[in-house]
Symmetry: C2
Subunit: 359 residues, 2 copies
Amino acid sequence: MRIGILGGGQLGWMTILEGRKLGFEFLVLDKSTSSPACKISDLCFDYEKVDEFVKLCDVITYEFEHIPDEVLEKTSYLTLPSVEVLKLKKSKVEEKVFLRKRGYPVPNFTVATNEDLERAADMFELPVVVKSESLGYDGKGQYLIKEKGKLKDVKSNHPQGRFLVEEFVDFDFELSIIGVRNAKGEALIYPPTINHHEEGILIYNKSTDLAFPEAKEITKSLIEELNIVGLLCVEFFYTKDGKLLINEIAPRAHNTGHYTLDGSYTSQFENLIRAITGLPLGSTKLKSPSGMINIIGKSYEEMDIRKVLSVDGAKLYWYGKEKRYRRKMGHVNVVGSSQEDVERKLEYLYDVLFESLKC
Amino acid sequence: MRIGILGGGQLGWMTILEGRKLGFEFLVLDKSTSSPACKISDLCFDYEKVDEFVKLCDVITYEFEHIPDEVLEKTSYLTLPSVEVLKLKKSKVEEKVFLRKRGYPVPNFTVATNEDLERAADMFELPVVVKSESLGYDGKGQYLIKEKGKLKDVKSNHPQGRFLVEEFVDFDFELSIIGVRNAKGEALIYPPTINHHEEGILIYNKSTDLAFPEAKEITKSLIEELNIVGLLCVEFFYTKDGKLLINEIAPRAHNTGHYTLDGSYTSQFENLIRAITGLPLGSTKLKSPSGMINIIGKSYEEMDIRKVLSVDGAKLYWYGKEKRYRRKMGHVNVVGSSQEDVERKLEYLYDVLFESLKC
């Protein structure tokens, strides 16, 4: 069976590393054929060869959101999760409107254009969070506005398109939950993780002994409501007064699920493949307490690999991408004998990997 | 850093799947460039292009023993573990003579030529085990002789070369231990596994709560005596009167260590890469009780993948090789909550995978 992946980044790379074990072939479509996933795919195509790509695929999935509409038009009939979900996700506005309309808990927000951004911001106490509708991952196109004067910069950065204007949530911590569902409607939910972001980028996350049954229920309900065949990650704020609010959703493998490669009975990547190929889903149980820390904006030489690998139970994933400021270059998974053991290891790795990070 | 692998089979394939995560590039040398490892390597060469291959490699390792001497001559200066160890291993006679000379426990044996095979067999009670010196893995070139008349067949199958003639060991069970060592002399030992063979082929193996300190000591001593930089697997018989005898050694990744991909903090493949590239070794601890079962002589279609993947904690590795009688086509790793849990799962998988095996 031939599986096509839209996007050739690290999520595609890990999907192929896992999916090859199941005996599948992989074709990648990306704007550049030198991307990480292309190096281990059977065939790699650029966007111009989308027709050829589609012809060879039995099923197609995606590993990032920013795929041109003209590509999606040609691939949609084979694509799982459905392109409708992807389109919902592509717009930060439509995503939040959908969630609120369906009664899911989200931060208070309104929608604005370039012209009425000030008026929209006036609806909330400062600070407010302004997000460009169509941009936005790893904190890109996203602004924490503490004084109204700064809205000018946002407007000049984004002369066109809409904005999501959200009240600032003073959360206690962030958590996320990943669910997987196949075409038969069978669904499994991974245990929650506690996530630590800095300046809009996930730095590390870890498993937790807390159960968060409400967050699991929300994830299960959403995965069914969106008729997902594949993965859905739901990111939550846990507010200081103990409420859950959805920050965002992603219908694909997610950075907060990388730990599953080493910590879980079945990784998120393998379960994605199982779901879209009609195979039985794999157990989402933990083998042991786990965590993950990203490697950001460093070259291979700048990462102290000896220190990283000296951590008992550390596993390095180096994506082989060209170094860029704030770019995710790799990650380290960690397993341990207890939650505290994992936390100690993550703290050590944070010192090793972020001592010189300025982002 | 570019790592060369001599041999393109499943051991090379798994070495690349693991080693890519560490950021290395992989070059494969094999008689055929359509082998499993070639499909995910950066470059693949046939034996005729050995000079080109060597020029591009920073370090070379091997994944099977039967590499032509003229290839080894050209690659030896970059090869780890050393080619001397490999040559020792290539001869079933030299391997056993070395072990006995150095005082390691081995079954009683003698060496014979085609002419004096009967006389050699007379030195032991029947049955005896006769092994061709230069052939022999998965039971090939190996004969259990219950009546002397059968020696004729052995002689006509192997008109040339020497034989190892061993007393038959009526063992209680087989176990193996894998050790890893780097150039600094740091060594780590994996926990022992109990192995189940049928007709000379490993069928399944599993972790055990028993410690076997003597077997660990022997493995550690051998890995140092052979100055291994890389992996060494030692297979033992555990006799009915409680003695350990070495059956064979292998200076490479080993089928009885496949479970480490999912059951251990660090897989045997990752530790091989760490050892030969001078990186710190990874913990050999178990994450959870584990086991492995081979898939033998079946095509992908003949394997009931739905049943295999319905086992909680089962992970399939399909090598993508052409089906042949008695050929190892893939394996399934299993993790569980207890040793008994793993055993139950292996029993179920045995029924699924071997119900129609005739070997």
